[in-house]
C-alpha cells in the first residue's frame, strides 16, 4: 500500500510539461490531426509527445510522435493533456510560422499557457476521461512505395472533380492512381525509376475515399516524401517525417470496396 501511495505521489510530482518549439511544428501536428478528429489526447513523457486518434467513423487513424529533439527546449514528466484542436488551431494563428512558442502546463488551473513573444494565451484543456486509446491494427501490407508528395498532390487534386474515390495500384514496375466519372478519367502512372522507392512483389489494387486521402496527403507538405504500404482491398498505411526528421506521422485509411 505504502509503495502505491509513493508511486502516485511521484507521478503527481512529475506531471509537468515545459517546452519551447517552432510554431510551424505545432501547426503541422494540428493540421495532420484535425483532419480526423476535433479533440485529441496528447501523451507526454520525458522522451517526447505522441498521440493516437481514430476518426468518428472508424475509417482512418493517425499515430503521431514528436521526439524531444524536435523542441528547442523540453522538460516533461508523464502527463496526458486533452486538446480541443479547433481552438488550438486558432491560438496558433496568433503566431507566425517562424516564431517560437513557449508552452507550460499549469496543473492548478488545468490550462496550457502559451507564450508567443509578449503575447500570453492560456488554453483551457479538455477532460481526457472519455477519450479512447485506439489500438493500431496489425496489418499485413505486402507492397511499399515511396513517392514525392507533390506528384500525389496533383493527381488527387485532379481527381476531386471526377469522383469521390481513387484507385491505387502498386505493380512490380509502376505505381498508379486513377479516377473516373461517367465521361472523364484521370490517371497518374509513375514508373519504378521515377519513384523514390518501389518494393512490390505482386500487383495490388485498393480504392480510397478522396475526402480522407486528400487531407492526409496535404499534411505531408510539399517537398516531403510519403511512404505508402499497400495491399488489395486493404487499408493503406502512409508514413512521413515531420519536424526535420524528429517527428513521425503514420496514417491508416480503410479502403472503399466494390460490393459486387
Amino acid at each position: 500500500m505504502a509503495s502505491v501511495v509513493a508511486n502516485a505521489a511521484l507521478k503527481e510530482s512529475t506531471a509537468m510539461f515545459r517546452a519551447t518549439v517552432k510554431a510551424d511544428v505545432l501547426k503541422h501536428i494540428v493540421e495532420a490531426t484535425s483532419t480526423l478528429v476535433d479533440e485529441a489526447k496528447i501523451h507526454i513523457t520525458t522522451d517526447g509527445v505522441s498521440l493516437k486518434a481514430v476518426d468518428p467513423a472508424h475509417v482512418a487513424m493517425v499515430d503521431l510522435s514528436l521526439g524531444a529533439k524536435a523542441f528547442e527546449s523540453y522538460e516533461a514528466g508523464d502527463l496526458e493533456l486533452g486538446l480541443d484542436l479547433e481552438k488550438f488551431k486558432d491560438v496558433l494563428k496568433l503566431a507566425g510560422s517562424a516564431d517560437t512558442v513557449k508552452m507550460e502546463y499549469h496543473k492548478d488551473s488545468h490550462r496550457l499557457v502559451m507564450r508567443m513573444g509578449n503575447l500570453v494565451r492560456r488554453v483551457g484543456l479538455v477532460d481526457t476521461a472519455g477519450m479512447p486509446d485506439p489500438k493500431v491494427p496489425n496489418l499485413n501490407l505486402p507492397n511499399k512505395v515511396v513517392v514525392s508528395a507533390e506528384e500525389l498532390h496533383r493527381a488527387i487534386k485532379g481527381s476531386e472533380s471526377l469522383s469521390d474515390h481513387v484507385t491505387v495500384i502498386a505493380d512490380p514496375e509502376f505505381f498508379e492512381i486513377s479516377a473516373e466519372s461517367d465521361l472523364d478519367a484521370l490517371n497518374l502512372r509513375l514508373p519504378k525509376e521515377e519513384l523514390i522507392e518501389l518494393e512490390a512483389a505482386e500487383r495490388t489494387k485498393s480504392m480510397f475515399s478522396l475526402d480522407y486521402l486528400s487531407n492526409m496527403i496535404k499534411a505531408v507538405r510539399s517537398g516531403g516524401a510519403l511512404t505508402m504500404h499497400l495491399g488489395s482491398d486493404y487499408p493503406v498505411k502512409m508514413e512521413f517525417d515531420l519536424a526535420d526528421g524528429n517527428g513521425h506521422c503514420v496514417y491508416l485509411l480503410a479502403p472503399r470496396i466494390e460490393t459486387d
Binding site: A57, K135, T259
Partner: protein
Amino acid sequence: MPGALGSLPMAAPPVDPALCVRCKGGRNLCGKPCYLMQDIQAHIPQVRLDRPEVQGPSPPGVFVGRHGYPKVNLGPLVPPLSLEARDLARMADSTAWYGHSINELVAQRSTLVLGRRDFSVHAARDPGRILQSTQEIALSDRAVDTELRLARVPARALGPTLGDTVPPMGPALEATRARLGENPHVPRAVDRLVGDTDAKAATALTELATTSVTVDHMQRLLSLGLLGTAERRKLVPTRWSITAVDDTLGKALLPKVKDLPELGTIHYHRASYNGNHFQVLLLPRPWGFDMQETWHAGSMWAPTTQTAVDFEEYSGRTGYASNITGAYYAGRLAVLEHLVGIGRQATVIVVREITDEYWAPLGVWLIRETMRHAMQNRPLVFDDLAAAVRHVTRFSRVQGWKENSHFLGGVYQATLGEFATAT
C-alpha cells in the same frame, strides 16, 4: 376508387416520368398544372355546402399554405357534418390513421373544409382573429368544436386539396370568421414550451419528443409560429413544417446513435400498407442511411417505373434530400428512434416500393408510421450479407435494387475494424 389509375393515359406521358416522381405534384417542376394530380382529384368525393356557416369538431386540424410566401394562407379544418365519435378519433392524428384503408382516409379527410385567410408570416406574434383561433386549435391534442363563416357559399360541389407531403383535405375557401365553441385541451408540456420564448424551436421540439406529444402535434405548433424564441416566431407552411419536424427530431437523435456500439449481426424488417412496401436492412457498420423508392409502372406519379435514391454517410447530408424529399426525413426519424431503442448504430438501407394500390397521396406520415411499424416487428437476423440481400430480392419487384443502394450498389467505405486483429 381503387383502380382509379386505370384511366391514366396509355400514350406517351405528357411529362417526363423521372421528373414526376421527384416532384409528386408538389414542386411544379414541369411548369404546368399537374395532370396526374388532376386525375387523382377527379376520383375523390366532393363537398357541397348550402350555407356560409360550417360548424363541427376540428379533429384538431389546421393548415398553412405556402403559395405566395412570405404571405401565407391559413385556417382551421372543420367538417361540415357532425361526425360519429369513432370517425372523429380516427381523424385526429396520423398515429391513429395507420392501418385504415386509403379509400376510408381519403373519404374522411376530404370532407374537412379549410376556412382560410392570408397572413404575413410575421403575424404569428400578433395574431388577428382567425389566426388566433387557428393557433388555439393547433395547441389542442383533442377535437375542438369550431365554427367557420365563409366569405361566400360556393355554387357547386368542390373537390379536395391534395399534396404529396400533407394529408388530403377538403376544399379551401376564404373565411371571414373562425370561432371556437370550447376551450382547447392543451397538454402541460405544450403549454410550457409555447410559453417559453427563450427556447429555440429545435430545443422545444427535442424536449417535446421526450413527452407523449405526437409528431403531428409538434408540426402544428411549429407551423403556427408557436415555438421558438420570441422574436423569431413565424408562420411556417404545413408542408415545410412537416419535414422540419422530422429532420429536427432526427438530428437530435443522431449524436446519441453515433455513440452507440455497432449492431452485431444483420437485421431485416418489413411492413406494407396501402400499396407501400418497405424492406429495411440494418448492417453492422457505423451510421449511414440510404433510401430508395421505386414507383412501379401505373402507380401515382409513374406511368413507367421510376426509382429515386437519396443517402447520407456517417458525416450526414449538407443539402436537402431532393430526390425523395419529405419521405426521406420521415423514414430516417423512424429508423433513428428504433436504433436508440435497441441501443445500437447501424448502416440502414430502406427499399420502398409503391404499387397502384396507393392511388392518392396521403402525406409523409404514411412513410413515418409504416416505417415505425416495420421497425417494431421482430427482425429476421442474418449473419451473411449475401443471404440478407437474397431475402430482400425475394420480396422486391425492383430489378437492381442493390445497385441503386449507395452502400450496397457501388463502392462502400470499409472501417479499420474490419481488418486484422489489434496488437
